[in-house]
Symmetry: C3
Subunit: 208 residues, 3 copies
C-alpha cells in the first residue's frame, strides 16, 4: 500500500525527531541524538519483529530507512531553535504515525498467521514501543504509560482494523477507516486531554 508506506516514512522521521529532541535535552552528543532518534523511529517495529521471530528486521532488510531516521535526527539538532513553531504539525504527524505503525504491525502479524489477540498486540507494540525505548534509554519513566490516551489509540485502531478485515472490507478500505478513526481519536485525546484513570497507590507499600 503506497499511502501507508508514505505515512510510514513520514512517521519514522517524525518519531526520530521526537527522539532527537529528548536526546538533546539529556545533553547527548551527535551520535546519541542519531541513536535515540533511530531507536524511537524504528524501535517499535524492531521489538515486534523480535517478539514474532519475524526476520530480517525492517531496517536490516531496508537499511535506507536508517537514512530517514538519522537524517531527521541530524536536521533536528541543527534547527531545534525554530522547531517550537511547528509544535502542532509535530503532534499531528506523531498521531498519524502512531496509527500507521499500528496498522503495519497488525499486517505483519496477520502475514505470519498469528491469532487475533497477537495481531492487535503486534499493532500496539509497533505503535508504542519506539517511544517507550526512547524513554528507557533517556532514563525517564515512560511517558506513553502516563499521558493522554496514546496506547489506547493503538488498541482501538488495532481492534477496529482487525474487525473491518473480519467483515471482509478489504485491506485498503479497512486501513483508510482505521487510519481516519484512530487519528481522529488521537487528535481529540490531545485537544480534550482525555486520560485513562490512574489509581491511588495507598496501602500498597512494602510489597517489593
Amino acid at each position: 500500500m503506497t499511502l501507508l508506506h508514505t505515512i510510514f516514512l513520514v512517521a519514522i522521521s517524525a518519531e526520530a525527531m521526537s527522539g532527537a529532541m529528548m536526546a538533546m535535552r539529556r545533553k547527548m552528543d551527535l551520535f546519541g541524538i542519531c541513536l535515540i532518534g533511530t531507536v524511537t523511529g524504528l524501535g517499535g517495529g524492531t521489538v515486534r519483529d523480535v517478539m514474532l521471530g519475524h526476520y530480517p528486521l525492517t531496517w536490516v532488510g531496508h537499511p535506507e530507512y536508517l537514512a530517514f531516521t538519522v537524517g531527521a535526527a541530524l536536521a533536528t539538532a541543527f534547527v531545534a531553535r525554530v522547531l517550537h513553531h511547528f509544535r502542532l504539525l509535530f503532534l499531528l504527524v506523531d498521531g498519524l504515525g502512531l496509527v500507521a505503525f499500528t496498522i503495519i504491525g497488525c499486517n505483519v502479524a496477520l502475514e505470519i498467521g498469528a491469532p487475533t489477540t497477537i495481531v492487535v498486540l503486534s499493532g500496539m507494540i509497533t505503535g508504542v514501543f519506539g517511544g517507550l525505548l526512547r524513554d528507557v534509554l533517556c532514563n525517564e519513566v515512560p511517558l506513553v504509560l502516563q499521558r493522554d490516551l496514546y496506547a489506547t489509540v493503538a488498541l482501538v485502531t488495532g481492534i477496529l482494523y482487525v474487525g473491518l478485515l473480519w467483515l471482509e472490507l478489504g485491506t485498503t478500505v479497512a486501513s483508510l477507516i482505521a487510519l481516519t478513526v484512530g487519528f481522529a481519536l488521537r487528535v481529540m485525546a490531545v485537544i480534550f486531554h482525555w486520560r485513562l484513570p490512574s489509581f491511588s497507590a495507598e496501602g500498597i507499600r512494602g510489597f517489593d
Copy 2:
C-alpha cells in the same frame, strides 16, 4: 506436568500484581499498569526464549496467558487498598513463582539440547528477568540485584534440578524436590534477611 503448569499460572498472576503495584506508585495509567504487569509476569520467559531463539514465544503461542496477567493487573488496580492484608501470601506466591519459573526455564533449555551451564542460566533468566524488566521500565535500580537472596535461589534451584535429573530421578520427582528446597530457601532468606555480600566501592572512582 499439571502441578508445575498450575503454579505457573498462579505465579504469572502474582508477578503481574507486583508489576501493577509498582506501576501504580509511578502514577501510570491503566494501560501502563497492564503493560508493566504483563512484562513482569511474562518478561522472564520472553527474554529466555529470545536468547535461545526458541519461537514462538510463550504468550504468542498461548495468548490466553495474557488474560491472566492483564486480569491480575486490573484486579490489583481496583483492590490495591486492601492488598496490604495479603502481604505474606503475596511473598509466598512470589517465592513459589520464582522457583517454578526457574524449573520451567531449565526445561525449555533442556528440550533444545543446550549445554548444562545454559540450562541453569536459562532457569535463572526465567526467574529473575521479569522483575528486572519491571524495574528498568519503572526507572529503578533493579531490586533483584540488591535485595535478599533472590537470584541465588534461582541459581540453587536450577543446579539442584539439573543435578537430580542427572541422577536419573525423573522429571516429576526432580521438580518436586527442587520446588520444595528452592521455596524453603527463599522463605528462609526472607525471614532471616539473608543477603549476598556487597562490596565497598571506594577507590574505584573515575573509571567510566
Copy 3:
C-alpha cells in the same frame, strides 16, 4: 583469527570489570555484580545477534565465555580497592576491546551476507551496546551517548575495515590496520578529550 580472539577474551573481561565497578557503586550484591559484568562484556554481541537473527548467541554456543565475565566481575569485587592504580591500563584495554568488538561485529554481519550499511552498524552495535545496557540496568543516562568519541571510534573502525576488505586486502591485514587506527583514534580521543558537538535544547520544550 587467533589475535582477534585473544583480544576478544581480554576485552570481554575488561568490559565485565567496568560493569562490575558500576554495579558496586549501585550497592548491588554479588549476583548483581556478576550479572552487570556479564551484560557489559557480552551484551553488545547479544543485541547484534538478536537483531540479525544470528543463533545460537555467542555465549549460548560458548558458555565458557561466561567464566571470563563472571570471573572478572568476582575478581573486581575483591580487588576494587587497588584497581585505581590500573586506571590507564584499563582505559587502554577498554579501547582495544571497543575496536576488536567492532571488527568481530562486522565479520558476523559479513558472514550472513548483510548489506554494507548493516555490516558497519553491526560493528557499532557490538562495540557500544554492552556499555549501553550496563548504564540502562544501573539507571544511568548512557555514558556512551555523552562522552568522548566512543561510538564514533566504532563507526570509523567499521567503515575503515569494510573499505579495506573492499580493496581486497584480506581479513588479516584489514583487521590489523583497522585495529591499529581505531585504537589510536580512541587513545587520542581520551588524551585530547575529543567530543562530538552537542546542541542547545532551547526552544524545544513541550514536545513530548
